[in-house]
């Protein structure tokens, strides 16, 4: 990491030191010049708004009069934490995130193993399987809503045909089935990503090791555990982190499919935040909900770093 200073200067020393040597100031500031434009950008469009949001979370601010805020201290936080509906939101967020992580990675791994074997048309298959990932979220929400339409949706017609029909057929309108339907749609969109990433991780599994293990008489599962899993473990960890963060922020798909309903059964933190801000027009409590989300994400990131470090040290298998 600290290459430049160590190696750059001595090499150029003798011939043109006076002319070419970067002034100490120059070399010290060079990295900042490289990152300044990007940093400025992130400062203006991310840091400043985030700080403003932090401030808002301690105020009562109405959407219709956003310039008139009233400092209320911790009121917003007290209120949301005292609200059983917010507890439900937290629970649904956890269910949503964990299901997304586990099922998307699990399904991705199965598909990756399937597509890792050589067969004719593998290239086409690998390309086609990525289609859901490439499809825009808006279009996905739209087609999912249409496919799940209670009266004319193909899903209900299929379920009815095989005798598993939901009474009335209104899957997205049922507090019981709406979340599974939203989850299924999300995972449909995510599994190509996990499978493609895992597929490329599988490329570095040494085939001879696999064969050696098989020759030794180890069962498939044992071989997988001993060889493949060891190689792809870091990738799985990374995917888990990515899936967690993405699922915590996912908005369009849920919003356009259910708006968090029916009866709050698909209301994740982000949906709650948005409807607080734009339906209830309470920017203050929306910001407070957002802060809870930010803290959760921070815990996830820091936690994952700690786990990764422990794994590197060998404390955790």
């Amino acid at each position: 990491m600290t290459v430049v200073e160590q190696t750059g200067a001595p090499k150029t020393t003798p011939p043109g030191r006076a002319r070419r040597r970067p002034s100490p100031l120059g070399s010290k500031w060079t990295p900042y010049l490289f990152l300044a434009p990007a940093a400025l950008f992130i400062l203006v469009f991310q840091a400043v708004p985030l700080l403003q949001e932090v401030y808002l979370s301690f105020t009562r601010t109405r959407l219709l009069n956003p310039t008139r805020s009233e400092w209320v201290g911790l009121d917003n936080f007290n209120r949301i934490f005292g609200d059983p509906e917010f507890h439900r939101t937290l629970l649904i967020t956890v269910i949503y995130v964990i299901t997304c992580v586990v099922v998307a990675i699990g399904a991705g791994l199965v598909v990756a193993l399937l597509l890792n074997k050589k067969f004719r048309g593998r290239g086409v298959a690998r390309a086609l399987v990525t289609v859901p990932w490439a499809a825009p979220g808006i279009a996905v929400a739209l087609i999912a809503t249409w496919m799940l339409n209670a009266q004319y949706g193909i899903v209900n017609r299929f379920l009815d045909a095989v005798g598993l029909g939901v009474p009335g057929g209104a899957i997205l309108d049922s507090p019981r089935y709406a979340l599974p339907a939203v989850l299924a749609t999300t995972i449909w969109q995510l599994f190509p990503f996990t499978s493609v990433v895992l597929l490329s991780a599988l490329q570095s599994v040494p085939q001879d090791l696999n064969e050696a293990a098989t020759v030794d008489g180890a069962g498939r599962w044992a071989t997988f555990r001993a060889v493949t899993w060891q190689v792809i473990k870091p990738t799985v960890g990374l995917l888990a982190l990515l899936m967690t963060i993405w699922s915590l922020r996912r908005f369009e798909l849920i919003w356009l499919m259910t708006k968090g309903g029916p009866v709050g059964s698909t209301e994740t933190l982000v949906i709650d935040l948005y409807s607080q801000a734009f339906d209830s027009k309470e920017l203050g409590s929306a910001a407070a909900i957002g802060m809870v989300g930010v803290v959760i994400s921070l815990i996830v990131i820091i936690g994952s770093r700690l786990v990764a470090r422990a794994v590197e040290k060998g404390d955790v298998r």
Partner: protein, 276 residues
């Protein structure tokens, strides 16, 4: 031998099922677009596209505002791609090749910003945009989308640059090349696949973006397709065929573009992601 054959058959079936699941919704979008009203509301759905209805695509583009929407999306996506990659390359380079005070902070900030939901930022950004007269402009959307996709772009490119042997640069530097020249002459060509990957990621990010577009754009002539299509949901009476036709036209370039460059996207994304 027999077991082996059975394994092959099972695998073929499994692959076909996976592909069916992956592709069916888009196929169904296409079929719905090309269905007559009587087919749509019939007891038995039609499972194949009625190619005689192909005019729906032409009508969707000619009559409605769909063509304008798609053009706006394209402008936003290309703009975002240019800005975020343009800023991401030097940032990734700085993170990969220099050690400097605050580097850890920058890295943490980049990771941190990736988890900020757009929905959280939309309110303060609205105020910011209002002050800078960026509301109701595609420029504003390009800027905000770039800011949101920049961290992942920079991290992927940092990972890619990490993978280039430093000796190449040292040789160039020994010849008197300055960091910026080294970057553009040595590193950029070598990480071209990753740049392509980040370009695609940035493009898609902006092509698909909805929350900011729906909040910051009032002028219907400036609406991108994501907003236009989302507005179909719950809008009274636009025929579902038109809706699906527009959505299909919106999806097709994204999928096609992605399939074209997916090799680079995957290698870039994993290189960046795994090391980032």
């Amino acid at each position: 031998m027999r077991r082996f054959r059975f394994g092959v058959t099972a695998r073929i079936i499994a692959v076909l099922v996976v592909l069916g699941v992956a592709v069916f919704p888009l196929y169904w979008m296409f079929v719905t677009a090309l269905s007559s009203n009587s087919d749509l509301f019939a007891d038995q759905p039609r499972l194949t596209p009625d190619l005689g209805q192909f005019g729906v695509f032409v009508d969707a583009l000619a009559e409605g505002k769909a063509a304008g929407w798609l053009l706006n999306s394209l402008i936003i996506a290309v703009g975002t791609m240019v800005v975020s990659v343009g800023l991401g390359i030097p940032l990734g380079y700085a993170l990969s090749r220099f050690s400097f005070w605050g580097k850890a902070v920058v890295t943490v900030v980049l990771l941190f910003t990736q988890m900020l939901p757009e929905a959280l930022m939309v309110v303060p950004l609205f105020a910011l945009f209002r002050r800078f007269e960026l509301l109701d402009s595609l420029t504003g959307l390009v800027l905000v989308n770039s800011a949101f996709v920049l961290p992942i772009v920079a991290l992927i490119l940092k990972g890619a640059i990490d993978g280039i042997p430093k000796e190449l640069e040292e040789a160039a530097r020994a010849d008197g090349a300055r960091p910026f020249t080294t970057l553009t002459r040595i590193n950029v060509p070598l990480i071209a696949p990753s740049i392509a990957a980040t370009a695609v990621i940035a493009f898609f990010h902006a092509w698909n973006e909805y929350v900011f577009a729906v909040t910051f754009i009032f002028n219907p002539d400036l609406q991108p397709a994501s907003v236009g299509i989302a507005n179909f949901i719950g809008e009274l009476g636009t025929p579902i065929q038109t809706v699906m036709a527009v959505a299909f036209l919106f999806t097709l370039p994204a999928v096609a573009f992605y399939l074209l460059v997916q090799k680079y996207v995957v290698s870039g994304m994993t290189a960046g992601a795994v090391k980032g």
